[in-house]
Symmetry: C2
Subunit: 766 residues, 2 copies
């Protein structure tokens, strides 16, 4: 078990000592972010000791550079350009020198070194005592947080208490514009398709004069994005000698024993803009912001931040009794989930949040299928912004559908930042047209949970109509299957089975996409307000489309093996040879790094939940027996080589009543990043898996399903735990659900009484 967790508080991750391995590993875990930007938990002086760092990156959500994708052999319609999130200037750099000797962990003696990530407060603190080679000592404390109140703001404060009088103490703060890129994102295993390393500084920078603040305008080499960043500081001792050099400022004082010296540093990462004429305006805004917050001061900002965090936890915490380690792990996951979500309607959540450059900062279906449930039920305003991002890229998705020769609707990119397809491997990229259904499903879930009419009539209809249109134009009625509606040459969620016909998951999602579109169009037509009319006119909507969608939905082909009474993942699933798991050595996992795609594709072997995921999403449509059989079969051929797999198998284990198994899966992954289960946490946290743990509690152990607009629970508490409780937002209510052994309580925290169901029995909660 990770040493981070071996302590008393259920809210704190604590690192003790100066073990290089631990510090490097914790760069990802200690990353702070607010959805707009994030900064890894690297040491302030990491640039002096590269071996104590894997990557010091600060990342701004949606701020990427681009370059053409090189193909061994090009073909029409291939994704054209890489989109790669790039580190922006590092504003965390702080250096302390004593009589000219700069502090770092390899010089002099550092004792009582301790770093703490307080999840409750959203603060990263560091404390240590440093004795210089000259045997002069100081106590140091550094605190850092990323503000939610001011989304552009990174705040740092350093306190230094000298043990002796009369030493020259210099404190230096710097915004490093990375001209050296000394050790950001080292290149390792460059062949791993899940990684993409940025080896060079990929932006231009230009200094801008602020009032009293230091500003910089940066823009990537190959995209039309712009960003203003800036910094300002408050040093406690007015008599200090100040030296300035570009974006570096230092203060020098003579130490007085036990007299605290402090530096407050305010660093702003502005919002992205594309119009180059906006530089001046944006710079003025950042300049003003910095002056404002500096005036407000560290203590006040911190206070505000704690209040925000407290409110967040009130809505989103999961409390668990009976396993303190797990309690912290869950909170850690929720903390990072919350940190990762873009909130401006123009950005989303990358697969690694803003904690690392893994997967190039791309947005995937992970958002809709793994992360959104948490937001929909605990932070619906953030959920809405995430869906608005999808709405913002509809034009690009429309272009992509045309490029794929589908003459109606939209096809969302499989992986993207700007809305254009950025997956260089189409069999596990563009072929995953279930992305449309994933997004439609999320829209429906959001609308069901919030009754957000404004969104329903505009963005909601736009997305649902256009995704339904795509599927209708993509598929066709197959005469050889009695006119069933079929969809060929697609890849389902399981990327170990590519380019197949009638992937069960995809077809089922498409069927529901048709039904969602019909449902929400009809709802809107009933009220027939002006916004609805505008939307339908803009989409050239024709009522005949409803009929076409219904016909396709009703005729949807869902492959099934009557002999074995098993759901088939696709038309050819059971015709493949079963993978020889007995002859596969452990070190050959994940298979994708040890076998050619064709070798994997021609066998029955799954990377992750596919049919089982479909049965989770629509679990009330399947009989217990069917789910039992399918679960047993698909579990036997699944490697869980994707971090998206275990949580779904865990939830479905709950669903079919295999609680011990559900508990096992849950415990395997609940601490995935803290224990570095996948071995690649250094590239960033596994955000989707974090969403998966929340889903495991709520959908799995509490058994939440929304059926006919009603919250339905099928709770079952693992015997290892005493209680689990969490809060849900649903249609204006806030509900607290507490599972205890043999008992479940539901209490209304906010809103009108509401009828729910437990094991099919209605209950009024008031």
């Amino acid at each position: 078990m990770s040493s981070l967790l071996s302590h008393q508080s259920k809210w704190v991750l604590q690192e003790e000592g100066i073990s290089k391995e631990t510090i490097v590993q914790n760069e990802t875990l200690f990353a702070l972010s607010n959805g707009h930007f994030g900064t890894r938990g690297s040491l302030e002086e990491a640039y002096l000791i590269p071996e104590y760092s894997y990557g010091e990156s600060t990342l701004v959500n949606g701020f990427y550079d681009s370059e053409p994708i090189q193909y061994g052999e090009w073909a029409y319609g291939y994704a054209k350009n890489h989109q790669t999130i790039i580190p922006v200037p590092n504003g965390k750099k702080l250096t302390i020198s004593l009589n000219g000797e700069p502090f770092h962990l390899k010089i002099g003696t550092t004792t009582d070194h301790k770093r703490t990530l307080d999840l409750k407060k959203g603060l990263l603190t560091r404390q240590f005592v440093w004795t210089s080679p000259e045997n002069q000592s100081i106590d140091v404390k550094i605190e850092r947080f990323v503000s939610y109140d001011y989304p552009e703001l990174l705040v740092q404060k350093i306190w230094i208490i000298p043990h002796q009088d009369g030493n020259q103490l210099e404190v230096t703060a710097e915004t490093d514009d990375l001209t050296k890129m000394s050790h950001s994102a080292k290149e390792e295993d460059s062949h791993d398709p899940r990684k993409k390393t940025v080896k060079e500084r990929r932006f231009d920078s230009r200094n801008i004069k602020g009032s009293t603040n230091k500003l910089m305008h940066i823009s990537p080499h190959h995209t039309d994005l712009n960003l203003i960043i800036g910094a300002t500081d408050t040093f406690s001792d007015q008599s200090a000698t100040i030296k300035e050099n570009g974006h570096q400022v230092s203060w020098t004082v003579e130490t007085k024993k036990n007299q605290t010296i402090s530096l407050e540093r305010y660093m702003a990462y502005g919002f992205i803009f594309t119009d180059p004429n906006e530089v001046e305006n944006q710079a003025r805004h950042i300049d003003k912001l910095l002056s404002t917050v500096k005036k407000e001061g560290y203590a006040a900002l911190r206070e505000k931040h704690l209040t925000y965090m407290n409110d967040f936890w009130t809505q989103s915490d999961i409390e668990i009794e009976g396993d303190d380690t797990l309690q912290i792990g869950l909170r850690f996951n929720i903390f990072h989930l919350h940190q990762a979500a873009g909130r401006d309607g123009l950005t989303n959540m990358s697969a690694k949040g803003l904690t690392g450059e893994g997967y190039e900062g791309h947005y995937f279906w992970d958002t809709e299928m793994y992360m959104l449930p948490f937001f929909i039920y605990t932070q619906p305003t953030i959920a809405k912004q995430l869906l608005k991002y999808r709405h913002s890229i509809l034009p690009k998705a429309r272009d992509r559908a045309r490029e794929m020769a589908v003459d109606n609707g939209v096809l969302f990119a499989w992986r993207t930042i700007n809305g254009e397809e950025a997956s260089p491997y189409y069999p596990a990229g563009t072929a995953q047209i279930h992305i449309n259904g994933d997004i439609a499903h999320a829209v429906n879930t959001y609308l069901e949970a919030t009754e957000d009419k404004e969104f329903a009539r505009k963005e909601g209809l736009d997305i649902l109509i256009e995704t339904a249109r795509f599927y209708e134009a993509y598929g066709h009625y197959d005469d050889l299957r009695d006119g069933a509606f079929v969809m060929n040459d697609v890849t389902g969620p399981d990327e170990y089975t590519a380019i197949v016909n009638n992937n069960f998951y995809t077809n089922l999602l498409a069927k529901h996409t048709f039904n969602y579109a019909i449902k929400w169009v009809n709802k809107a037509l009933e009220e027939n307000d002006e916004v609805t009319q505008q939307t339908l006119n803009r989409l050239h909507f024709n009522k005949q489309e409803l009929k076409a969608w219904k016909k396709a939905a009703d005729s949807m082909f869902l492959p099934y093996d009557e002999d074995q009474q098993l759901t088939m993942q696709d038309d050819s699933a059971f015709h493949k040879k079963v993978w020889d798991f007995n002859q596969t050595p452990k070190e050959n996992y994940p298979l994708l790094l040890h076998y050619h795609p064709l070798t994997i594709y021609r066998h029955q072997v799954n990377k992750q939940a596919d049919t089982v995921l479909a049965q989770f999403l629509f679990s009330t449509e399947f009989s217990q027996e069917q789910k039992d059989r399918d679960y047993a079969y698909y579990e036997s051929i699944t490697t869980h080589d994707s971090s998206l797999s275990r949580s779904i198998f865990g939830i479905m284990a709950s669903d079919i009543g295999q609680i011990d198994k559900a508990y096992g899966y849950f415990m395997d992954t609940a601490l995935m990043d803290i224990t570095d289960l996948q071995g690649n946490t250094k590239d960033g946290v596994h955000t989707a898996n974090m969403g998966g743990t929340w889903m495991s509690i709520v959908y799995g152990f509490a058994g939440l399903r929304v059926v006919k607009d009603t919250l339905c629970f099928f709770p079952k508490l693992p015997k290892q735990w005493e209680t689990v409780s969490f809060t849900l937002q649903f249609r204006g209510r806030a509900l607290k659900v507490t599972l205890k052994s043999g008992d479940v309580t539901y209490s209304l925290l906010k809103g009108d009484p509401i009828e729910i169901e437990q094991f099919g029995q209605k209950r009024l909660i008031k």
Copy 2:
């Protein structure tokens, strides 16, 4: 119709005038080669007038450079390196200057410019009269041939007849080691996957001192290949002033009216070697060769060459009466086919022969399925060498099978020079495992036709056993299909349908591969000589394998639609939507340049013959009705976007008795390169299509099939022709077959009497 053909002789392609377009186009058509090396038909002074050239390359078969393939996203087992045939030093450069003014087509006046490719003689000649800007004139004739008698040798002779006395005439010969690469292979349409351009000189060169000859050692930057090249010259006028500068020599004389001056140039391109210690030996060999041939002299070498060519045509000509244009076109194709074949057992035939750098000089299945029949039945010793090349790369094919996790047998590379897979797009590369069956089929055809016991017992068994083993290990018995033997996730010849299960062509070829292996192993076991025993021991052959192959062959799944009574290209073929040909504008062909692979794959649309090709290869196994139905269906969905398609559809049209259609297909492609039908002849000739025209005559109109070791004919002459005749080698006999309207004659040119069949009737030919 091409102006090349508008003249009297049935053996000559003639170019008249100095039209830039014509001269550029004819660089490919006028290329000369002998299978070891080839040189494009560029003008001697093309370096002075780049617009008169597309690429002056000289190419040595198998001499390639390599670089890592860049992938947008890497995966295990992907082809690692490009293999790219590279131009070697250009030995054709000749410059004539009159009073210091160098001749080229844009200076002074060139009249009566005429180039002639004499197919019968294998000579390229050029004649013109040049009048310099000073109004001084010369008659010039240049002749060039690539020797078959000395495979390293390119021979050139230039004759100059001055019209006036007293001018300074300088003739310069040069071996250009391409340090400038001024205009070799220009970059155009670089996105076209069928092309690969070499933009830089990719070899190192070092001068070597020969006795009196100029030698050079060259080696590519990234492969361990070596080549010695060299040149020597004989100038007619002993009194000339000679200037030497590196690999350039010039002779200057004062002109005497009407007195012919000539230069003979001998240029050697040695064989490839890999041992760097061999440089000296190889250089000595080339040095000696040059001295020998120089002594022999141009006239004697030319005479030898004409004798060789005459013998070749005696064995390989097709005579046709009733269409003179076609007659030349056919001979042109046969000429280039013959030129393209590697003869050393270590090289093969590239898709473009040695006439251009298209397809990087790679060897494909084209050799076995389109070109080998010509060689097997007219030049069996060359056929054997081509098959020996496949044998030479068995170790690489064995490694590749292991890399693809198939634990027995070999998998030949889809495209390669050195035996390693070089296809950067596996769905239309490695997935085409029918390559094994194609090669096995060619081995069987060769053995049937030649009864070559030596080859049968060694190389033949090696290839047949190892390809059969691969299929047996690749496929499996599918319980859901009553235990039929199935092969999943493959691509058939039709590259518009990729990664499917049970491609009919692949499965049928595999079935026959099993049977070939059984047949030739049993034959060898019957005689059970020492060579056979050595081979079987080396292969660790076990008699149980014969049973396993028989079981797989007998259980082979061949997809068939009972309702429609149609052969299915693969399991899912008829479940796809039929391509909307009516809505596809002409300019959108070939589809591969205008639609995403997934768009193509999810429709019923074929690039080329697939099921129809299978039915051609084994036409006696299918009923006339079955072939009629399948032909009609597959023809309706085939675009013929591959140059490999039309010839097969033509042959099968003959097979099912649609002679007019067969004639149409044949005439569409017989002149493909001369008329630049595909628009890319500049990148090299379409060797496979040339093989296809030979097959169209012999398999198509003469209806040759070999059934139970007997030549069987089903002749039908198109009404447009008077007679067609050709020669076949079969089991020690040479047979002349002549189709006339209403009559066919068979005459024995060599060997013992032989029983053949015509329309099922036996005939003894004596």
